[in-house]
């Protein structure tokens, strides 16, 4: 076990206020760590020291003047490379954006920096966030800091690995079908997918617009809650962002669990679930019961159709969103004899195999003669899956499941078989399709020390309940159950 994060948001704040360190020294320590560890982990694709030190100096100046510190003052953060950062190369893990530098910051970045956070750099991910192992990055796979021969999960593998290895205190990832929660589970850290519409996606480079969300990785629940408090809330630059009030998450998470009803859907504990994962998650649920929750057995009958539905909806939207990469306005251009020839050559050279596979699958599902059989049908099943959640939340306050059917698999183990890779998302895509929030929390390890994740879903905009359960679970020792 080489992962050894030592800093939390509270520890950073305390160290700065008591002058044990300056923000500049702290940032320097993190860059030193990254320099040591990143060649092995490949978690970061780009670092932005100028920007980071400038921000650290602003924090140090505020401390010198005795000004009140914002909630993330001096906190080193890592950002998945699908989120736009002005002046800092943003590749989406793709060759097609190898030299792309966004002209503006994503709202989530703007809010983090306004709250004092120090952006260290951009983290590796599956190309355009398409993958479950980080092996689809054009810049090489990330290694799992807990077990270097294993994948960190995907697609936000770099963000998960960076936080788990202590190379950032917190990180932003994105989740379309499990891309925050699954790497969180594989690397053994809390990882939250907020409700659809909760965190602005302005500046997030789109994969599947009805599914994409931005959320935090952290080493503890309070840190995840703090990042949520800063990033959540309405943004007029994102027409899908919701004007639902944002609660004080840090206050919410310390409330007792007494009387909360947790639903346990039998559909998530069937064939294909690794026995060690099953045992630990069941122990986790028992712990929540001892903490005052009432367990309610559930049936969510359309769970088994979620992967099929997801891989139609997500690829259809991707085929449309990725049509913009044509060599005209940004990114790679490969010269061609005429316009159409340039489009084809640029896309052939710029996209990796998984992205092409998904573009073709999505194009097929939307093409004339197949639309009704695939896309329309998938949108109907999606409605049924959303209804499963809505019905469940009439009976329960949260739903508890395993995050993944297995612990982290070996690098190269599933790359030859795309369908097997897709099935790694079997327990996470449901909540993605329904739009509800979900967190993965560490729930012990396998006998060989691989992290296991327990997933907690809440109803729309009820991140507070999800975080509250996660915090009580953490406090009671659930993370190492």
């Amino acid at each position: 076990m080489s992962a050894s994060p030592t800093w939390t948001i509270a520890a950073v704040r305390d160290a700065l206020l008591t002058k044990k360190t300056s923000a500049r020294e702290l940032v320097k320590d993190f860059f030193d760590q990254i320099e040591r560890r990143n060649p092995e982990l490949n978690a970061f694709l780009a670092l932005c020291p100028e920007r980071a030190y400038a921000q650290a100096d602003r924090v140090d100046a505020a401390i010198t003047k005795g000004q009140p510190l914002p909630p993330l003052a001096g906190v080193p953060v890592a950002v998945k490379d699908v989120i736009s950062t002005q002046g800092v190369r943003t590749t989406c893990g793709s060759k097609i954006l190898e030299n792309y530098t966004p002209p503006y910051d994503a709202t989530a970045i703007e809010r983090l920096e306004k709250a004092g956070a120090v952006v260290l750099g951009k983290t590796n991910c599956d190309e355009f966030a398409m993958g479950s192992s980080n092996e689809n990055s054009a810049y090489g796979p990330v290694r799992n800091p807990v077990a270097l021969d294993r994948v960190p999960g995907g697609s936000s593998g770099g963000s998960a690995a960076a936080v788990a290895a202590g190379l950032a205190v917190v990180a932003l990832g994105t989740d379309t079908g499990g891309s925050i929660r699954q790497p969180g589970a594989f690397c053994g850290i809390p990882a939250l997918m907020p409700t659809y519409g909760r965190v602005s996606r302005y500046g997030l480079i789109a994969f599947a617009s009805s599914l994409d969300r931005i959320g935090p990785f952290a080493n503890n629940i309070a840190d995840a809650a703090t990042v949520m408090s800063v990033t959540a809330g309405y943004d007029s630059n994102d027409s899908t962002s919701a004007a639902v009030p944002v609660p004080d998450y840090l206050a919410e998470i310390e409330k007792p669990l007494t009387g909360l009803r947790i639903g346990v859907p039998e559909d998530y504990f069937g064939a294909g679930l690794d026995p060690e994962v099953k045992t630990k998650v069941q122990a986790g649920i028992s712990l929540l019961e001892r903490l005052g929750c009432k367990r309610v057995p559930l049936k969510m009958p359309h769970t088994d159709y979620a992967i099929a539905t997801y891989y139609i909806v997500a690829t259809a939207e991707a085929s449309s969103n990725l049509a913009r990469y044509d060599g005209v306005r940004f990114g790679l251009r490969v010269q061609g004899s005429a316009l159409m020839d340039m489009y084809r050559k640029t896309r052939e050279r710029g996209f990796g195999p998984e992205v092409k596979r998904r573009i073709m699958l999505g194009t097929y599902a939307l093409s004339s003669g197949y639309y009704d059989a695939y896309y329309l049908r998938a949108q109907k099943v999606r409605a049924l899956i959303a209804r499963d959640f809505a019905s469940a939340f009439e009976k329960v306050d949260a739903i508890v499941t395993p995050t993944t059917p297995t612990p982290a698999f070996k690098l190269g183990e599933k790359t030859a078989d795309p369908l097997q890779m897709y099935l790694a998302d079997i327990y996470t895509v449901t909540g993605s399709l329904a739009g509800v929030p979900g967190i993965s929390v560490p729930c012990g390890t396998t006998a060989t020390g691989l992290p296991i994740g327990m997933q907690i879903f809440g109803s729309h905009f009820d991140e507070a309940r999800v975080l509250q359960l996660a915090r009580a679970f953490e406090k009671a020792g659930g993370f190492s159950i």
Partner: protein, 106 residues
């Protein structure tokens, strides 16, 4: 086998992808396997189900809870002076245009 070589080539053309000859069979086999799996969606009777076309939260009865409707901002034009920065990121620009190869062929 549901997916033929011709299907792959047709879809690649629609998606503006130029596939190497050896890629065609690889993708054919993989898409065939994935679509066979997705075929399980045909098991369900969906005659009376409305497709989910937007992401607003719904109750089990289909209603949208209060406060969760989309917030549309007022239609007021705001300055957006990013033209130069955007063109600076283009592979080939001649202010204020993106330059591309010949579109109309003779």
């Amino acid at each position: 086998m549901k997916i033929s070589r011709e299907d792959v080539l047709r879809v690649a053309q629609l998606a503006h992808l130029e596939l190497a000859p050896e890629e065609v069979e690889t993708y054919r086999g993989q898409l065939d396997e994935i679509l066979a799996y997705i075929g399980k969606l045909q098991e369900l009777d969906l005659a009376s189900v409305e497709p989910m076309t937007q992401m607003l939260p719904r109750t089990a009865g289909g209603a949208t809870p209060a406060g969760a409707e989309p917030e549309l901002r007022d239609d007021v034009p705001l300055p957006c002076n990013v033209g130069e920065a955007v063109l600076a990121a283009a592979p080939d620009a001649a202010m204020p245009f993106f330059r591309v190869p010949k579109v109309i062929e003779r």
